[in-house]
């Protein structure tokens, strides 16, 4: 057996170790810098987007812009019909999408027994969440605009509202289920111990607890609907609407436009005046969305605090 030269071995391995350790720490530092750089790049680009739109759009904002109908001359054009159309759609999504979504969430979480039916429903809902919005537009075009024309009246507010409701349904269902799941079971058991029915337990005890979470999800879903463009274009929302729908059932059956549709129309015109109008419309749209999202985040934070 040849004697092992311990000295040379140890010095060799220790030099190897120190050298590679400094390299490892060096790479570590680079990696940390890369992650911070990524987040700053993302934030800077997104900030420049908002600043660019604000700089272009805010000088154009005035009362006439908010209260005028679209026009062939960019300086006379306004967003009244688009703003009112968006408010109608918002109301329709609240009236249709909210109850249906919450009802479906309650069914899946509280009423249904675990079976293959609920499993199919769950897979189906997660699949629907991944379907591109323009496909919902094709569904709306065929089903609401064409097949159900006697009811909806064709390319109308009702068709738009129904299409958007279907589009945001998965978001509301998932939010409702998560909020219901967060309510402790002891509360339900306490209710049953008093001898009240399942619906009374749900209505009187569980839903009030789950409400902030459900509302948060619903606000996020509605803000998605407010900004949605592709599916409304597909069902054929018009861009030149120089009247307001009457505030009645008949109003549901009038053609419509909406803020993102009007914005799209103005962006795609070559004249600079219309592009400035587009920026101004975006400022209004983003203000509405930011307010809604901020409300949702505040609600959620309060919800988490009270749950802890």
């Amino acid at each position: 057996m040849t004697p092992i030269n311990f000295k040379s071995l140890s010095s060799k391995s220790s030099s190897l170790f120190t050298a590679s350790r400094s390299i490892r720490y060096g790479v570590d530092r680079l990696f940390a810098i890369a992650t911070w750089a990524a987040i700053f790049i993302a934030l800077i680009v997104l900030a420049s987007l908002l600043i660019d739109v604000a700089v272009d759009g805010i000088p154009r904002l005035n009362w006439e812009f908010l209260t005028s109908f679209p026009s062939r001359r960019p300086e006379d054009a306004g967003i009244l019909s688009a703003l009112v159309g968006s408010l109608w759609l918002l109301g329709l999504v609240i009236a249709i999408g909210f109850p249906v979504g919450v009802g479906a969430g309650i069914f899946l979480e509280e009423f249904a027994n675990r079976s293959w039916v609920t499993k199919v429903l769950e897979i189906n809902i997660s699949n629907l969440a991944g379907v591109p919005s323009i496909i919902y537009g094709l569904l709306g075009l065929q089903l609401f605009v064409r097949v159900l024309q006697p009811i909806t009246g064709g390319r109308t507010l009702l068709s738009g509202g129904l299409t958007l409701s279907l589009l945001v349904l998965p978001i509301i269902i998932v939010a409702t289920r998560e909020s219901l799941r967060a309510v402790p079971n002891s509360l339900r058991e306490a209710g049953f111990a008093l001898g009240i029915t399942q619906w009374q337990v749900l209505w009187g005890l569980v839903l009030p607890q789950a409400l902030p979470g459900i509302l948060t999800g619903t606000i996020l879903a509605i803000s998605r609907a407010i900004g949605e463009t592709a599916s409304l274009i597909t069902i054929g929302a018009l861009t030149f609407i120089a009247f307001l729908p009457p505030l009645s059932i008949a109003g549901l059956r009038t053609p419509f436009t909406a803020l993102p549709i009007q914005t799209f129309n103005w962006v795609s015109r070559p004249q600079a005046g219309f592009q400035i109008n587009a920026a101004a419309a975006i400022v209004i749209l983003m203000t509405i969305l930011l307010l809604m999202n901020a409300t949702a985040i505040l609600l959620r934070n309060r919800f988490y605090k009270s749950n802890q």
Partner: protein, 309 residues
């Protein structure tokens, strides 16, 4: 005893019956609402299949798959879907080259490097940005990014795949970051501590232990990003143009599948025309692509999910 029921208990009995009726009604209604989602899926699949079959009655599937031009609105119509698919693949690839690295690194930063305070501020900002409508990004791509890039890239036309793809990447970055961050944050602390105890550095812990443990969540975030990118409509419609052509040059106008559907919908297309059926055939192609991604994601998460208690 039964004959001597007091008025109070009579009230109670009928009340309970009423409550049970209400309960039955509510349950039925909720079940009905739950099946709206099934009806939606059936509606989508049914609509697409019906109109696509009508389309293939007039245009052979062979031409659909092998033509090298897409001119369905011309008299000498050609139906090479490959033209639209290649455009979609190109813009999506550019977008993912931006969104995946930036989104993932941001997620790692938020979860592993940022202090709790920074995280509490940045996470809601990311979620706010994920909610910016795509028409706003379209404006940004056409009127800010393209003029900017034209100073550096020679031959960049005012409608092009490059700036549409880049901006689409920025648009889906918050989604990738937010979902991956959820997955990374959920990896239990004990795993990290175990790796530190073996002498690993922070980067080695993250790349060697934390990311593999969060793999299923990260991959499903990335797949969702891919399906967002191929389904994205407004950015490409506004900034990438409406010119269907088979090219790999990102500097010239192209037309993606979604942009074609939007373009035809903007015109007043009669429902019996071939153009009307064409948008459903294109929609079916798009739907099948996103469905395949969804199914793959579902399978992957099931196969590779790590559950820690």
């Amino acid at each position: 005893m039964m004959q001597h029921r007091s008025p109070d208990s009579e009230l109670w009995q009928s009340n309970l019956r009423l409550q049970q009726w209400i309960e039955q009604f509510i349950k039925l209604l909720a079940a009905l609402f739950a099946f709206v989602s099934i009806a939606t899926t059936l509606g989508i699949v049914g609509t697409l299949i019906f109109e696509t079959i009508e389309f293939f009655r007039q245009v052979s599937i062979w031409r659909f798959l092998t033509d090298t031009q897409w001119t369905p609105l011309f008299t000498n119509a050609q139906f090479g879907i490959i033209v639209l698919i290649s455009a979609t693949v190109m813009t999506s690839t550019i977008a993912l080259c931006v969104a995946l690295p930036i989104g993932l690194l941001s997620a790692i930063c938020l979860s592993e490097y940022a202090s709790t305070k920074v995280r509490r501020w940045l996470k809601p900002i990311l979620e706010l940005l994920a909610g910016v409508p795509s028409v706003v990004y379209g404006y940004f791509a056409l009127l800010f990014v393209t003029p900017l890039l034209q100073q550096f890239v020679s031959g960049l036309e005012s409608f092009n795949a490059l700036s549409a793809g880049l901006v689409m990447g920025i648009a889906i970055t918050p989604l990738v970051a937010s979902l991956s961050e959820d997955a990374i944050y959920a990896v239990p602390q004990s795993l990290r501590e175990g790796a530190y105890a073996l002498g690993a550095t922070k980067r080695e812990v993250i790349l060697g232990v934390v990311l593999p443990a969060a793999l299923s969540g990260i991959v499903s975030a990335c797949i969702l990003a891919v399906s967002r990118a191929i389904g994205e409509t407004m950015i490409v419609t506004i900034a990438a143009g409406q010119n269907p052509r088979l090219t790999l040059d990102p500097r010239v106008p192209i037309a993606t599948m979604t942009a074609f559907i939007a373009q035809v919908s903007l015109g007043d297309t009669p429902v019996t025309s071939l153009a009307y059926k064409t948008i459903f055939a294109v929609g079916t192609t798009l739907f099948l692509m996103t469905l395949a991604l969804n199914v793959f994601s579902f399978w992957f998460v099931r196969r590779f999910r790590e559950i820690y208690e």
